[in-house]
């Protein structure tokens, strides 16, 4: 027997619709559940202790959880993080009430840990750890992960210690509060405990497992309120905004670029006399309608909306792409957008999402929009950051390699980009380009070139 009507009798001062339909299930992980929409409770109805704690767990959801875990109130938190954080709150509270929460483990946790570590799914490793924390199953889970990935296991153990410490600071009445939070229209315990836990899980899932002591310390520190999130070491996946509207652009003159020609007035390529069968020694300025401008709209660029509008007004009819990633976001907030292309210019240019986070994928995407021979300008200060907005040397190196391979012209400002387009500039000054510039400098010149520069 199970009494959901008693467990959920009075919440936020009013009676809830108590008519729950009970369905018999098993005590295997994932089989029991509580469906608020259908008012259906699937629980094991047997007499043993494991069945009892599974029933209590679902009853606690009836009592504590909101009818819908996720909606537009918390757009920055993925549903999986909310689910796992709510599991943690419920399990922690059951533990405080004296229930045998350690019986909730069913032995499947080790297999899950092994499988996740083999597939290197760090985000799911974190989420699942939250879901099983406080049940004792986390030990089996981490042990299984340690067999495959020692760094991930050490990181999860550190996360567990911080998690336990922060949960200890939450008073029981706050943890179990079903009083209505007027601002968010949800139970207060959910707002004040589950949401911060879910945010914490999201930040950790967006980072990567620490592989040295310093990283481990940073990972632990990133769990403290107001602290910086830990590095992820990877770019976020590119999410292109698809809901923008475009208005036709007035026809503009194109970019100018120099092409080789066999006739003309300015000898620009004298070597062509020897190496080019067509002897195209003259340079000829030509208008070009093609070309791609990739704009880093992160906070460090400090590009006001007006300056992009101005650039659009005077720039030639190029394909213009903007990008900026919200640090740590896992919910799929668009982090790249086409500001202008053959369709026209978008009527409302998205503002940046603070971080870089997708420099590499954005460069690769912009390259697919470039026609051979057309200019490719990257408006960037040379800062390259991972999905958590941490600067990363290997990732800056990756971008520098891309810049060199694809002959991308990098300019730190829109004005510089405009000049480069007008004058057909093709070279970069590494000194202006931050981390990317340093990598360009080190890789882009030979020893003899470096020696001659030094002697100058």
């Amino acid at each position: 027997m199970i009494y959901p009507e008693i467990a959920g009798s009075i919440r936020d001062g009013s009676l809830r619709d108590p008519l729950w339909e009970i369905e018999g299930g098993s005590n295997r992980r994932g089989d029991a559940h509580c469906d608020f929409a259908q008012r259906r409770l699937r629980v094991p109805l047997g007499p043993d202790r494991r069945d009892r704690i599974v029933r209590a767990h679902e009853l606690a959801h009836v009592r504590l959880s909101p009818d819908a875990l996720s909606d537009s109130r918390w757009p920055d938190i993925p549903l999986r993080a909310l689910q796992c954080a709510e599991e943690l709150r419920v399990n922690d509270y059951l533990g405080r009430l004296g229930f045998e929460v350690e019986l909730l483990r069913d032995g499947s946790e080790a297999a899950s840990g092994e499988q996740l570590s083999h597939s290197h799914q760090w985000d799911e490793m974190v989420f699942f750890y939250f879901a099983v924390h406080r049940t004792g199953a986390e030990k089996d889970y981490v042990r299984a992960i340690r067999r495959v990935d020692k760094d991930a296991a050490a990181s999860l153990t550190a996360i567990g210690a911080e998690l336990s410490a922060s949960l200890r600071q939450v008073p029981a009445d706050e943890l179990a509060s079903v009083e209505r939070d007027e601002l968010h229209d949800a139970p207060r315990g959910y707002v004040s405990v589950t949401i911060p836990l879910a945010r914490m899980a999201t930040r950790l899932a967006g980072a990567s497992a620490a592989n040295n002591r310093d990283d481990l310390r940073r990972l632990r520190r990133s769990m403290h309120p107001g602290s910086r999130r830990a590095a992820s070491g990877t770019f976020a996946p590119l999410v292109l905004a698809t809901d923008l509207t475009y208005a036709p652009r007035a026809s503009r003159t194109g970019a100018r670029r120099v092409t080789r020609n066999s006739s003309g007035r300015v000898v620009r390529y004298p070597a062509a006399l020897l190496v080019d069968p067509q002897r195209r020694i003259f340079g000829e300025w030509r208008r070009s309608r093609g070309g791609v401008v990739l704009i880093d709209q992160s906070g460090s660029m400090d590009l006001p909306q007006e300056s992009i509008d101005h650039f659009l007004a005077i720039a030639p009819a190029l394909t213009i792409i903007g990008y900026s990633h919200r640090p740590g976001d896992l919910t799929g907030v668009p982090n790249a957008w086409i500001i202008a292309d053959a369709r026209g210019r978008c009527t409302h240019i998205p503002s940046g999402n603070v971080g870089n986070g997708v420099d590499g994928p954005a460069l690769a995407f912009a390259a697919t929009r470039r026609r051979a021979g057309d200019p490719f300008i990257w408006v960037s200060d040379g800062q390259v950051t991972d999905s958590a907005d941490h600067p990363s040397s290997p990732m800056a190196q990756e971008c520098a390699d891309f810049v060199r391979r694809h002959r991308v012209v990098v300019r730190p400002s829109l004005e510089g980009a405009l000049l480069a387009l007008k004058n057909g500039e093709k070279s970069n000054n590494p000194a202006d380009l931050g981390r990317v510039g340093r990598h360009l400098w080190h890789r882009g010149i030979t020893l003899s070139q470096a020696a001659s520069r030094l002697s100058r």
Partner: protein
């Protein structure tokens, strides 16, 4: 006031049909004295029942009562005697489906007994093999109260 009409016999129900049909038919003849008792002006009838749904009453009788009020929570005064956590769950327990409904009377009995022998023993005596489930629901249902 006709209390617990669902427990009325067939004869009583027949009489009620006449009494509640119209002012003209509303009369009662004393079986021994033959005295005819007629209702005073403004006469009205209220019935109470413990049935799950008013439709379970005979259709003709139900038809004579155009207004039905479902009372699915105990009167606050009735639960005041219970200790805090039981008073809280009593408000919702009465609305449960009949298969798992716990009456106010049962909760009172549990409360009385628990004062002498504690919750666990009291639940074992009153709820038998459902004792653990009741205690779990009680603990979780009054979670906030226990925490504070």
């Amino acid at each position: 006031m006709v209390d617990e009409v669902d427990r009325a016999s067939g004869d009583v129900l027949s009489l009620l049909l006449a009494m509640t049909d119209s002012d003209e038919s509303a009369r009662w003849i004393h079986p021994h004295t033959g005295e005819v008792v007629r209702p005073a002006p403004g006469f009205s009838v209220v019935m109470t029942s413990n049935m799950e749904h008013p439709d379970e009453l005979p259709a003709a009788l139900r038809d004579r009562f155009p207004i039905a009020v479902a009372i699915d929570a105990p009167a606050p005064a009735a639960v005041n005697h219970l200790r805090g956590d039981l008073a809280q769950v009593a408000m919702g327990a009465g609305r449960s489906p009949s298969s798992r409904r716990i009456s106010l009377r049962t909760l009172r009995a549990f409360d009385d007994l628990a004062r002498h022998c504690g919750d666990v023993e009291s639940a074992r005596i009153i709820f038998g093999d459902k004792a653990n489930d009741f205690l779990d629901a009680l603990a979780i249902g009054s979670a906030e109260m226990r925490a504070s």
